[in-house]
C-alpha cells in the first residue's frame, strides 16, 4: 500500500503512461508515435520502481527504450515517405474498435474490483535483484537457457527474412 508522496507519484506516472499510450495509438505522424512510446516505457519503468522491482526497471529502460524503440525508428526511417501527416493512419474500424475495447474494459475492471485477492503483507527478505539472480541460475536455469536459444533463433530468422536474394 502506498500513501502520501508515493501515491501521488503513482498517479503522475499513470497520467504519463496513459496519455502517451493514447498518443501512440492516435497520432497521425508515426514518428511521433515512436517518441511517445519511449515516454510510455519510461513511465512503466517508474511503476516498476514503485513496485520495488529495480532490476526490471533497468531492464525496461535498456531493452524497451534502448533497443526496441530504436529498432522501430530504424524501420520507420527505412520505409520512407510513409509517415507524413497526409496519409490516413487508421482504418474504418474505429467505432467498432471503441465499442469492443470499452466493453472489455468495463468487464475486466468490474471483475477485478469484485475479486477478493489473497494479499500478503510481508515485506521481501532480500532485494529483488538478488532474488532474481539466484532463481535464474538455480531453479529457472533451463528456461533461462531456452530463452537465449529463442533470441538466437530470432536473430538468425530476422537476418534471413530481411536479406536480399
Amino acid at each position: 500500500m502506498l500513501t502520501g508522496i508515493p501515491a501521488a507519484i503513482f498517479y503522475i506516472l499513470t497520467g504519463i503512461i496513459l496519455g502517451s499510450a493514447v498518443m501512440v495509438v492516435s497520432s497521425k505522424n508515426i514518428f511521433h508515435c515512436a517518441l511517445f512510446l519511449v515516454l510510455c516505457f519510461f513511465g512503466v519503468a517508474g511503476i516498476y520502481i514503485l513496485l520495488s522491482a529495480e532490476f526490471l526497471a533497468a531492464v525496461q529502460v535498456l531493452i524497451y527504450v534502448g533497443a526496441i524503440t530504436i529498432l522501430m525508428i530504424f524501420a520507420i526511417m527505412l520505409t520512407a515517405k510513409l509517415y507524413s501527416a497526409k496519409i490516413r493512419q487508421s482504418n474504418e474500424q474505429v467505432l467498432p474498435g471503441i465499442i469492443i475495447v470499452a466493453a472489455l474494459l468495463v468487464a475486466t475492471i468490474f471483475t477485478l474490483s469484485r475479486t477478493a485477492w489473497k494479499l500478503s503483507y510481508e515485506t521481501a527478505q532480500v532485494q529483488s535483484t538478488v532474488g532474481i539472480g539466484k532463481l535464474l541460475l538455480t531453479k529457472y536455469v533451463l528456461p533461462f537457457e531456452v530463452v537465449s536459444v529463442v533470441l538466437l533463433t530470432a536473430l538468425i530468422g530476422a537476418i534471413i527474412i530481411a536479406r536480399k536474394e
Partner: protein
Amino acid sequence: MVGLTHYLTLSTILFCIGIFGALTRRNAIGILMSIELMFNAVNINFVAFSKFITPNDFVGQIFAIFVITVAAAEATVGLAIVLLIYRNFKGINVDNINIMKW
C-alpha cells in the same frame, strides 16, 4: 492509498489502448507498437501480483523478464517482415496487403 487494484486497473486500461491500436492502425509498424503496449500492460500485472501476493518469491518478475525477451524477439522478426513487405509492396499499410485472402 494505492493497492493492487490500482495497478491492475492501470494495466487493464493500457492493455485496452493497445488492443484499440492493433485493431485500428493501418501502418504495420503502428500495429507492432500497439502490441508492445500490450506486453507492457501484462508485465505490470506480473510485477504487481509478484509484489502484493508473493513478495518473497520473485517468480512474477522472472516471468516478466521472459516476456521482455520474447517481446524483443518478436519486434526483431516483425520489423524484418515489415521491411520485406515494404520491398515487395512499396507500402506497409496492412489493408493493401491481402494476397493471402481468398
